[in-house]
Amino acid sequence: MAEVWCTDTGEAVYRSRDAVKNLRIRVRIQRVTSTAVISHHLQQRVQSQQERGIMELDTFVSQTQSVGDEEELVVGWQEKFFSQYEVDLYQTESVCQTPLEKQYHEEIMAMERAKKRRNQRIFTYTDFDRFTNWEEQAQSLMIPTETRRTFLAERMANIRHRRQERRPADTSVPKTRLVVWEPSSEFMKNSHIVNTPMQTMHLMADLGPPGKLGLKENEYVLCTIKTDSNGVVTVKPDFNNNRGPYRLETEGEKREVWRLYLENASAPIPGEEKQREQRMYIDLYSRHKDYLNSLVGQDFEMPPPGILRLLVNGEIVSAQGYEYDNLYIHFFLELPNSWSSVPFQSLSGVTQTCRTRTLGKDNVAFFSYPFTFESFFRKEDESEDSLPQWPVLYFKVLSLDFWQRYRTEGYGYLVIPSTPGHHRLTLQTWRPLQTGTVAELRRFFIGGAPELEDISDVRIPGTFKGDHLSRLGFRTQTTGSVTFNLNCIQHARGISEGPKTNAGRQRESTQRSNQHHRPACPRVLNIELNLEFFCVRVTQVNKLQCFISMCMCSGQHGGAAGSVAVTQLQGPGGCEFESPSK
């Protein structure tokens, strides 16, 4: 006897570009009475027995198909069907005051004369009728149903009444007069809720006892359909879609249960037209695409073959941990030999002077100094398997105080990362120390400090040739750190050939050296190594982060697989290490 009801009465949102007037809905209601239930059940049993070839039982044909207990109707969009109550009400001409009521009167009289009335119980309220479904707002979500509505629910239900000015669904956002300084309560009621203008239609049913139709208390909402001008159709509750009927229970002394079926009866688009429509859409979009293409043009500025173009948009974010205040940073970019730059591009800069503030334990100065540069790499020598040297950004941090005392705070350098993308790097700095206390006193009282003559001494001096760099005897003191944000873009013709996997990279770097005719640039991109690498005592050189001492070996190729990163510059130490075994 258990029947499968559909309990999901939430609303469903559909989108359609077709005219809403083509919407048709088939509504069917059926009363569930005790005899109806039994006969329904027996009917099912009989039918199953019939399938097995047993004699039919006439008596069990459903006798409850009386007029009052079942009805089906196909309703079009905004099609007005009158309830018994309305028929009774609008028959007398004196009651009709507004033009709408007068129109209803005419229609009802015509209907009565022609004796053509298609509906008994099911009727509709169109957009023009001033009907608001109060119960719907309160009942759906909670058990037991809450009788008092929140103010928001009241406002949302009231939208329809105030929608007479019918604001068009405009997508333009106001550009002037953005703020309403003293909003009226009317404005607030309208703007605090979702008030897109919508056309509504309610499918109703008069579920009174048969013969006693026409009482307003017996009206129940079957379905609410809303559309807006954008082709959005909201149906609440949704079509049954073979999920079982909805359950309607009447109030009043005699609680009756009705089944509700809703079905979309709109005429579907014939196959040919559908195809034509799809072709038209495809056409439209491809033409739009061509139009956009024509605006942009076909020529995309590509670097010449064999050249890698590097674009760096960077930012000096902050400097932290320095002794003195009023810091500024002076940086410049050094391009190694195979790199060239766009003319009239400045490769150096000075930030503003920034006062620090305490953030946590550090004194931080935020610069937010943007810089950008573009450079081109051309592989000069294809002979050995040397990897390109990437540009280096040298910087020094200086402080200038109120007394015009100028001090160096730190030197550091940053090798532009060889992988494209976003990098946030924090680099430690050091400053040179002179032996003895006099220099420090001078620095404190008067300002001035030893500076490096050539800033590239910070890394590998330009004049350096050889394979053993020693900074023995040089004293420095560790100072704070500087944070950079870099966004790197690499642009070359070889990139569009597709990405290479990790395993293939190492092979390629050794293969590359053997193939002189191939452009070296594309391969460069996929290698994650930094160029300087250092000798360490540990034989495993896979993805190590390690200290480097002041002994560095330069000029050899990076045979290590995986990335080796530079972490910290410590004080001078003249230790010797083994070369990496590979």
């Binding site: 989108r15 703020v179 909003p183 607030m188 495809i282 982060q545």
Partner: protein, 205 residues
């Protein structure tokens, strides 16, 4: 649409307006809508909505939770005008009037996957003290004529706003045919940052 040669790409947004953090206010509800460029059109789903009214929890979390679902699919021929979601929060003031508590907007994320966005909210503010007092007294706080204003930058120079509160949104994004049309929105798979800070030392692998 032929699968080999698509002319539009789809952006499917699922998610929720999860919660709000307004230390001074309670009993808030929010409303959202999407703002997008001319070449974008929603193909399915709900474009705007209004949430329930929620109060702060009894424990000390001070979070106002809506968990209000978002579900929309856009189609477009052009990434210009990428959709933004505009959230407006309203609530009662001390006299019981319904006033605006914050506006905020954020772009829908580009990359497929799960994202959380914590957007700060602001309200327009009157310039003179007297106007501030009368609007507090009468319960008529300045509001934007159309909340979609916060999704664009024009006309902002004449407004003065005060920041208050945050709203947390969660998105799950799926895109279709973006790669075929030549747009690459995947994040880089390599190790994201090269840290030279020296604070963590990892020896060996």
């Amino acid at each position: 649409m032929t699968a080999n040669n698509p002319s539009v790409f789809l952006l499917m947004v699922n998610g929720q307006i999860e919660c709000a953090n307004f230390p001074d206010y309670d009993d808030l509800y929010c409303k959202y809508c999407f703002v997008y460029g001319q070449d974008w059109a929603p193909t399915s789903g709900v474009e705007e909505g209004i949430s329930q009214i929620t109060s702060k929890g009894r424990d000390s979390s001070q979070n106002l939770v809506w968990n209000f679902p978002l579900d929309i699919t856009f189609k477009s021929t052009n990434p210009f005008g990428w959709p933004q979601i505009v959230v407006s929060v309203y609530g009662p003031d001390t006299f019981g009037n319904d006033v605006v508590r914050g506006y905020g907007a954020v772009h829908i994320p580009f990359t497929p996957g799960r994202h959380t966005r914590n957007i700060p909210m602001f309200v327009p503010e009157s310039t003179s003290r007297l106007q501030k007092f009368t609007s507090w007294l009468m319960g008529r706080r300045p509001e934007y004529t159309d909340p979609k204003v916060v999704a664009q930058g024009e006309g902002r120079e004449v407004t003065r706003v005060r920041s208050q509160g945050f709203v947390t949104l969660q998105f799950s994004i799926v895109t279709k045919d973006m790669k075929k049309l030549g747009y690459d929105t995947t994040s880089t798979e390599q190790t994201p940052t090269t840290r030279l800070a020296g604070t963590e030392q990892l020896y060996g692998t």
